[in-house]
């Protein structure tokens, strides 16, 4: 999934990668494609994790992990960082999700009754970034579909998802249904129909 998501990156893109699977996308960026990673805590052109002994307490990513600097790096405040995000200057965000609906609603921050952690910058990212790509397992641990006609969990954003990449395929929210853009190797159309709780249209 992370590899497929990396194919969404175009040369010169400014990109924000969410915590979890999306972070792994960085490992699959082809060397011919230059992208600049934004970290919403106030950094543009984020480098890789530091070598042991080179950690800097003043240099972390939005997941609070130590990272490193690149020659083109710049730093700025949280307000300036979210001006960038909210103002549509980031080309692409790749995020994880709990649920996505056929009209592009996204739920990824809260499960009622469970301990609440907070939305962090997710609501700002999905509202502001030009293109939002979700990377997630197609079904939950209990086997239920995470692609739904309507989200059951509290939303992170309304109609904000442009593309969903799961272990079964690639999907585009179309309002009333999901357009199936790609099917993963060894997966049948029927398996997708069975495991998806909303209308699907195969391209």
């Amino acid at each position: 999934m992370a590899k497929r998501a990396a194919a969404e990156l175009q040369n010169g893109f400014y990109v924000n990668l969410g915590i979890g699977i999306p972070t792994l996308v960085a490992n699959y960026i082809p060397s011919s494609v230059n992208v600049i990673l934004q970290s919403e805590n106030g950094m543009l052109a984020m480098g890789p994790f530091p070598y042991p002994g080179e950690e800097d307490p003043d240099l972390i990513n939005a997941g609070k992990q130590t990272v490193s600097e690149l020659p083109l790096t710049s730093y700025f405040s949280s307000a300036d960082s979210f001006a960038m995000i909210r103002g549509g200057h980031i080309d692409l965000a790749i995020l994880g999700a709990m649920e996505v609906s056929a009209n592009g609603d996204l739920a990824n921050w809260m499960i009622p009754g469970k301990s609440v952690k907070g939305m962090g910058g997710a609501m700002d990212l999905v509202a502001g970034v030009k293109r939002v790509v979700v990377v997630m397992d197609h079904t939950s641990k209990s086997g239920s579909s995470k692609l739904l006609a309507k989200c059951t969990l509290p939303l992170t954003g309304e109609g904000v998802v442009d593309l969903v990449i799961t272990n079964l395929g690639v999907f585009e929210p179309q309002g009333s249904h999901l357009a199936v853009k790609e099917i993963a190797n060894g997966v049948s159309e029927n398996e997708i129909r069975v495991k998806t709780d909303c209308a699907t249209v195969f391209d």
Partner: protein, 235 residues
């Protein structure tokens, strides 16, 4: 101007200013750029009933978590309080209130407070729990919600270097919420690694002009790393 803004100790810089039930903005993203000496002094001061605006609630045993432990915080306004058992237990036991504000909305609300803007419209949170009860308005066919600014009675921030006039320079991602909180505080106190005479800092490099900083004190604790992540050295 001399060094009227420079204080000796984190506790003396606070004592005549803090009082119960204040609204305090507290800088930092996790432990990065967090004014730990000032937070510890706040605990020592014993004030209670505080509303604290901070992106996170510290880490168990460090930072704001210590004020939650001691029951001094009545309410937190944050974007993320995960991985914090102290907060979670206080919250589940009804000992602390919580208002979630999306990170970008929160940082802009704080800036607006300092900039004399009582409210602004944003798309962030439209159609979510965050939008409930807030006025909606349509601009060019898009729906936005009105978010209110945050002004603090007191802002506690951290910077790398201050001069005696309170001009501040931050370092790398330790900048985060600190510049806006400096603007938003009726009184702003900066904890720094180093205090230099005026004239040492290049005026084009100053991130926060001294007008936003009433007091400055040297940090008494080292910087901390919350989560060490490394790559392997190539063989």
């Amino acid at each position: 101007m001399g060094n009227r803004k420079v204080f000796d100790e984190p506790i003396s810089v606070l004592t005549d200013i803090v009082r119960d039930d204040m609204l305090i903005c507290c800088g930092g993203f996790g432990l990065c750029g967090m004014p730990e000496s000032l937070i510890d002094a706040l605990r020592q001061s014993g004030v209670k009933g505080l509303t604290v605006v901070s992106n996170n609630a510290g880490v168990d045993g460090i930072g704001l978590a210590r004020l939650i432990e001691s029951g001094q915080i009545r309410k937190m306004i944050s974007s993320y309080v995960g991985n914090n058992k102290t907060f979670e237990s206080a919250y589940l036991n009804g000992k602390i209130e919580l208002e979630f504000s999306p990170q970008g909305t929160m940082s802009e609300r704080i800036r607006a407070g300092g900039a004399g803007i009582p409210g602004f419209y944003t798309r962030t949170g439209v159609g979510t729990l965050v939008a409930e009860g807030k006025p909606h308005m349509s601009f060019d066919g898009q729906t936005y919600i009105l978010e209110r600014s945050i002004r603090a009675d007191l802002s506690l921030i951290r910077a790398e270097i201050a001069d005696e006039e309170g001009n501040l320079i931050y370092r790398k991602t330790a900048r985060n919420f600190n510049p806006m909180m400096a603007m938003s505080g009726t009184v702003t106190i900066a904890e720094v690694m180093e205090i230099v005479p005026v004239g040492v800092l290049d005026p084009d490099h100053i991130h926060t002009p001294g007008i936003f900083v009433q007091r400055v004190v040297k940090s008494t604790v080292g910087k901390r790393i919350e989560l060490t992540t490394n790559r392997d050295r190539k063989p």
